[in-house]
């Protein structure tokens, strides 16, 4: 899990956390209110369709929808710019991954997508600064996404992403925390989810291999 450190007396940020909690609560409700043990089961195409309806904006302020990624293998994760632990490590890891693919398999069309878990805080401007901090060029190869809370929530629910505010982390700058799953999601060039990883332990060799193989089988 990653943690975000937020000033306790900032009402806006409290609101953000509340929204995140609502988001998580909606996810719980969706799961617990299922009429049978399985609830709605989605095929890969149905999941793609659900994701295709989601509209967000990237770090440049440009509108994002999944159709823009068509033809590219996509690796997606969830971050937030104030996250001090797992997110920077994952961002660093994706940066290296992007470089390796470009050097070793330049013909493989790879798109990276990082979706903010705190969309009200992570405005396009904030994401743009985050991109600059990590030297992420604005070339559409790596989209840092934010937008309406409802849209982010829809993506979280579709992918089973869980995030929740943690307990007060007294002593470290008097801040609050936000915990979330650290998954990477791998999609084929048609926007179909093909694999998930624990983003804290997956090896870059594994990611490179899978991206190359997935691109290969998607061409046949």
């Amino acid at each position: 899990m990653g943690y975000i450190a937020l000033p306790q007396n900032n009402s806006l940020l409290r609101c953000l956390l509340l929204l995140c909690l609502i988001c998580f609560g909606s996810w719980c409700k969706a799961a617990s209110s299922r009429p049978d043990p399985f609830g709605p089961v989605r095929s890969s195409s149905q999941l793609s369709a659900a994701l295709a309806d989601i509209k967000l904006v990237d770090q440049t302020g440009a509108t994002f929808n999944w159709a823009q990624l068509r033809g590219r293998v996509v690796l997606l994760n969830f971050i937030f710019t104030k996250c001090a632990t797992v997110c920077p490590i994952q961002t660093h890891q994706l940066q290296k991954l992007q470089q390796r693919i470009a050097q070793e398999n330049p013909a493989v069309p790879l798109a990276l997508v990082s979706v903010s878990l705190t969309p009200l805080w992570d405005t396009p401007d904030v994401l743009s600064k985050y991109a600059q901090q990590y030297k992420i060029p604005n070339d559409n190869a790596w989209r840092l996404l934010t937008g309406d809370v409802a849209e982010v929530e829809a993506m979280m629910v579709a992918l089973g992403m869980k995030a929740t505010a943690g307990e007060s982390q007294q002593g470290v700058k008097g801040n609050l925390q936000l915990s979330h799953l650290t998954n990477f999601y791998l999609f084929d060039p048609f926007g179909r989810l093909k694999k998930q990883y624990d983003g804290t332990t997956v090896a870059s060799d594994r990611l490179v291999h899978d991206i190359v193989r997935l691109n290969h089988v998607s061409q046949r």
């Binding site: 799961a31 089961v41 632990t85 470290v172 084929d188 989810l193 093909k194 090896a203 290969h216």
Partner: protein, 1127 residues
């Protein structure tokens, strides 16, 4: 008279209730004051004295009734009735900190003036189990008082809230043998004060005469057996006068069945010889026990114990009597033993064996099986297994009367010792040819609902799916059942991974059982797919995690490939997305690879629930033949994988509720399913699979959740299922046998309980068939099983037929090998067959397949040729049967078929496709050289790595990142991580530890300046894990201006906790900057107990730790350091 008959029937119901089990379920929650059951209570109070008076010709006695219970349902029922003239004077309880483990009654005789006669004594055994944590307490009323009420609670702490917790008795002074008066005297509470306190009292002015309840590993519930007025007028001051009850129409009495004139002799136990004896208890009597002279190595003498029985209701009449003088001898070593069924039960079977040492041809140990009588001629309900007396032989045998009939005589032969003995049982007059029909056992109690059943490489049956209450959850038990001895071994699920609806099967190369997928982890709700794949080692009986899968999977199918790898496909993840990409587990590398080319959305789809345990078999062409909904396909596991669709003509057997088996190489029988009660034969031997309708099952009701088992002779046994998804209405109790030669069905005698959703059937090495489970959810909670003895093991009267014997174990084999099989048989060997060991759930056995072997035989040895094709004979464990000319199979030997060397996938040449998904990123600076699979796997670095530096190379202070150190502990729990933040370092920990594990951990951080000086006092961060009352808290913090640079730690102790973290001892050095340290190492005091796998870990290159991470649930599963490191 009809009124009396009705009374008798009601008493019968009450007796069944008190014994628990399925038969009791319908009336389990009887409450004296609630309307439906107050009818019964009313009737009991009304009719019992009359019944007894009329039928037993004894004075009217007070009846007892059961109070409301304290606790929840589950467990095996028990009843401790002090008997007429006695009252309940107290209890003994064993309690742990969060539940009640066992309970027993104290009784005392009382005279007509209400004075105690003698001192109270504990009545019989305690019900439940004693744990190391159990504390024993006794609570007794004051002299001349009796228990009249109880205040109690359920347990505490989540899992235990459904067990009983505490008990506090209330007593009143006795005025005669049944009644009390005066103020209540409350006794001290025993046990933890948990959830749902309730107070239960007997009728005003009446005492309690005993306890009842249910218990398994713990006490599920308990209540009081209270005396009532015995007033036949029906007046009852607890009844609601505004709600008068109308007595139900009296029922008919139990009629005498049409019985055979001859007693049915069960096979004898022991050897042969001696003077023959044969004694009969006589009409209207039954055998209820044995008197024995038992020496440590043989049975010296034996006789029966009989009792007369009320013909109408099965209750004992009068005293138990010795049937005849002891047959046999009496020696100085002899111990006189009486083993006897509970009141109103009769002997229905025996488990025993020969003596030990030089007495191997005489009779030895004895264990009786009893069942409740419901008339003088019939029995019903769960078996009551009595204690085993005498020497335990290498192999025990069990013989039983025909189902539903008691024993009435004992026969045998004896001289100085007992050579052999057996029983004569009542039997129906309708001749049954057991050779044709086979025979079902009575219903056996089972510790869990057998949702999953796996035959282990050791020949035991692994079942799991629920706890001992039949409830799903991560705190379930694994049960290992030994079919030879009948013993159960319960293993706790130490990983707290809920493998409910997983896909277990045997890993051929390790003898272990992998259980990929399932429901959830503890504390994370229910019904969410998981990536976990626990591994059960059946030799060490330990459970460890394999590397996690890439896709979370709930309802997946696992298949052993010809190269020994495991294919897992299907299921859904926690968000309800179909797990579309199959993946393959490499046991040699503990790693998974994904088959992107086989990620076919049409096959692994929500339509027709195709994702739900797709039916997969290794086909003769080496691909996987699959059936999902109305689709058929080949899945090619090579390379990236591929799916090739096959035309499916739309037959009368399909869908996820069907069942199927490869009954010959490349020949599949599929039965039932949502489409119809049909049967289809699918031939996948040719280029194109062919589908052919065959005769449907004759008994019907196979649309949902039947099971098929291929038997040693190649016939297929079909059991269970129903017309509707999971409804009793339409459930089929009739098994059928399918003849593969004629492709026709023959109905067999019914079994007892409906076996619907979550039921399983499994072939045992001795040729019998285990059938268990059903429920969670379902109309029945089948924590029970039934065993079928097929007709090939019986003669026409139901006696065991002589069997061929394989006289030595068979060494591991490979495809194409010739097996040498020493044997002993009166008849020539006619067939040699192989059946792959079973692993079944949700009506699909993912392992079983049948292969007939070519062979030659002389009088001592059979030489049989294994198929050369691994696609026909995938590696794994197989039951090898010899079948004689009479069609009788031997007890099978389990044969390991190993992976052929030319197919083996090992680490040296596996290339990219087999790398571990959990390997750490090599950009972290880790050495991912020769041992790349485990070098940086945080779960695999716990042993033998003392002093390991996990990061190597120069560090650049301007480009520091946080990396995970190796961890101590094993995978599990919810992940946690604490980063002290920029400008801070880790300086200490607080740990809550127990004598065998670490329960919780919390790091301490300090802000530092550029020179490494602390700017303020250290601050404790959040704790992860749980703190128990027994936890000891300890805190260790580096000296001022020091930071943590490493630790020495270990896992826990005592098998159950070895997979958790156990200890931590930090290592500190003086800070030389905000990120680095220098100088002499300062080792801090160890917190916790040193367990297994102690290792030492350091951050690299003089850099310090900035936080802590790991996994924790009820305890700390693992921990490691967030170390600063150069990029």
């Amino acid at each position: 008279m009809r009124f009396i008959e009705s009374c008798l029937k009601r008493q019968l119901q009450k007796k069944s209730y008190s014994r628990g089990g399925y038969y009791a379920d319908a009336i389990r929650h009887s409450r004296y004051t609630r309307k439906p059951n107050s009818v019964r209570a009313f009737f009991l109070s009304l009719c019992m004295p009359v019944t007894l008076a009329v039928l037993l010709n004894v004075p009217v006695a007070h009846a007892v009734y059961e109070s409301n219970i304290i606790g929840s349902s589950g467990g095996r029922g028990f009843q401790s009735d002090c008997g007429v003239g006695s009252v309940l004077a107290g209890v003994t309880v064993l309690t742990s900190s969060n539940r009640m483990d066992a309970i027993g009654a104290w009784c005392v005789n009382v005279n007509s003036a209400g004075r105690w006669v003698g001192e109270p004594e504990q009545l019989g055994e305690l019900y439940g189990q004693r744990f190391r944590s159990s504390e024993e307490g006794v609570s007794l009323c004051p002299r001349d008082h009796a228990v009249t009420g109880v205040v109690g609670t359920r347990g505490t702490e989540g899992y235990f809230v459904n067990f009983a917790g505490s008990v506090a008795l209330q007593c009143q002074a006795l005025t005669d043998t049944t009644r009390v008066t005066g103020a209540e005297v409350p006794l001290e509470q025993l046990g933890p004060n948990g959830e749902g306190q309730s107070s239960e009292a007997c009728l005003s002015n009446y005492a309690a005469r005993g306890l009842f309840g249910a218990a398994g590993s713990h006490v599920d519930h308990y209540g009081l057996l209270c005396l009532d007025s015995g007033d036949v007028s029906g007046s009852d001051d607890t009844e609601d006068p505004s709600n008068p009850e109308v007595p139900e129409e009296p029922d008919s009495p139990v009629e005498r069945p049409d019985l055979s004139d001859e007693l049915f002799l069960i096979p004898s136990v022991g050897g042969s010889g001696g003077r023959a004896f044969d004694e009969d208890c006589g009409d209207d009597s039954v055998l209820v026990g044995l008197e024995l002279n038992m020496s440590p190595n043989r049975l010296d003498a034996i006789t029966g114990r009989c009792v007369s029985v009320n013909p109408a209701n099965g209750e004992w009449r009068g005293a138990v009597r010795q049937l005849a003088p002891l047959f046999g001898g009496n020696f100085g070593s002899s111990e006189n033993i009486i083993t006897q069924c509970p009141q109103n039960y009769a002997v229905v079977g025996i488990t025993g064996g020969v003596g030990t040492g030089r007495f191997s041809t005489s009779a030895g140990g004895v264990q009786l099986q009893c069942q409740a009588l419901n008339s003088a001629w019939t029995t019903a309900g769960p078996l009551e297994i009595l204690e085993f007396y005498g020497p335990v032989p290498a192999q025990t045998v069990s013989h039983a009367c025909q189902q539903g009939f008691p024993a009435r005589s004992i026969y045998g032969g004896a001289g100085s010792h007992v050579d052999y003995y057996g029983f004569g049982c009542l039997a129906p007059n309708t001749p049954v040819n057991f050779k044709d029909s086979g025979q079902w056992s009575p219903v056996l109690d089972w510790p869990v609902i057998a949702i999953h059943a796996v035959l282990t490489p050791n020949g035991e049956v692994l079942t799991y799916g629920t706890n001992d209450d039949g409830v799903q959850g991560a705190h379930f038990y694994y049960d290992l059942w030994n079919p030879e001895t009948g013993e159960h071994t319960l293993l706790e699920n130490t990983l707290e991974v809920d493998s409910f609806c997983s896909a277990p099967l045997i890993i051929p190369e390790t003898k272990q059982i992998i259980m990929p997928g399932g429901d959830a982890r503890f504390g994370e709700g229910f019904n969410k797919g998981i990536v976990d794949a626990p591994i059960l080692d059946t030799d060490s009986q330990s459970i460890t995690p394999a590397s996690p899968m890439s896709f979370a999977r709930w309802y997946p199918t696992a298949t052993t490939l010809p190269n020994g790898e495991i294919l897992v496909a299907g299921g859904i993840d926690g968000a309800g997305n179909v797990s579309v990409a199959p993946e393959i587990y490499s046991p040699t590398q503990n790693a998974w690879r994904t088959l992107f080319g086989a990620a076919d959305e049409n096959v692994f789809n929500d339509r027709e629930s195709r994702w739900w345990y797709p039916r997969h078999w290794v086909a003769p062409n080496g691909k996987i033949f699959g059936l999902a909904g109305s689709l058929a396909y080949y899945l090619d596991p090579e390379g990236d994988g591929d799916i090739e669709m096959v035309s499916h003509p739309g037959m009368s057997a399909r869908d996820y509720t069907s069942t199927g088996v490869m009954y010959r190489p490349g020949m599949i029988l599929q039965v039932g399913g949502r489409a119809a009660n049909g049967a289809v034969v699918i031939d996948i031997n040719g280029n194109e699979p062919t589908f052919r309708e065959v005769a449907p099952p004759v008994a019907g009701g196979r649309e949902s959740w039947s099971n098929v088992v291929v038997l040693p002779d190649g016939s297929v046994l079909l059991t269970g299922g129903g017309a509707d998804e999971n409804e009793l209405d339409g459930a089929t109790l009739t098994p059928e046998l399918w003849d593969p030669n004629t492709e026709t069905w023959t109905a067999l005698p019914d079994f007892k309980l409906a076996r619907l959703y979550h039921s399983t059937t499994l072939l045992l090495p001795d040729g019998r068939v285990f059938m268990g489970g059903g429920g969670a959810p379902g109309p029945l909670t089948n924590t029970n099983a039934e065993i079928f003895t097929p007709g090939y093991l019986l003669d026409d009267r139901g006696r065991a037929r002589p069997r061929p014997e394989i006289t030595s174990d068979i060494s591991p084999q490979r495809a194409g090998d010739e097996i040498r099989i020493p044997y002993d048989s009166d008849e020539p060997i006619a067939r040699v067959t192989l059946i792959r060991s079973g692993a079944v759930t949700h009506s699909f056995n993912m392992e079983q397949r049948f292969i007939e072997l070519d062979f030659d035989a002389n009088r001592e040895v059979v030489r049989a040729a294994l198929p050369r094709d691994e696609n026909v004979l995938p590696p794994g464990y197989y039951l090898l049967f010899l079948i004689d000319a009479d069609g009788v199979p031997s007890v099978a030997k389990l044969v390991s078929v190993e992976v052929s060397p030319d197919l083996r996938v090992d680490g040296s040449d596996s290339g990219q496709t087999n790398q571990s998904d959990t390997q750490n990123d090599d950009e972290s600076g880790a050495d991912s050289g020769s041992n790349s699979d485990t070098d940086n796997d945080s779960n695999d670095n716990t042993d033998g790595s003392n002093g390991t530096d996990f990061v190597d190379g120069d560090f650049n202070p301007d480009e520091l990142i946080l990396v995970n150190s190796p961890t101590v502990g094993t995978q599990g729990g919810r992940r946690y991580s604490v980063d002290c933040g920029e400008g801070s370092v880790l300086v200490g920990v607080t740990a809550w530890t127990n004598r065998n594990r670490m329960d919780s951990i919390s790091p301490w951080c300090a802000q530092v300046d550029e020179t490494g000086r602390w700017l303020d006092d250290p601050v404790q961060m959040d704790a992860y894990g749980k703190r128990f009352r027994s936890s000891e808290i300890g805190t260790t913090i580096c000296p001022e201006n020091y930071g943590v640079v490493g630790f020495t730690g270990s896992r826990g102790t005592e098998r159950r906790y070895v997979d958790y973290a156990g200890s931590i001892a930090l290592k500190c050095r003086a800070l030389s900057s905000s990120v680095s340290a220098a100088g002499v190492e300062e080792a801090l005091t160890q917190l916790g107990v040193t367990g297994v796998g102690e290792s030492t870990v350091y951050c690299a290159d003089d850099l310090v730790a900035r936080g802590l991470f790991g996994g924790a649930g009820a305890h700390v599963d693992n921990y490691g350091l967030y170390c600063l490191a150069s990029e």
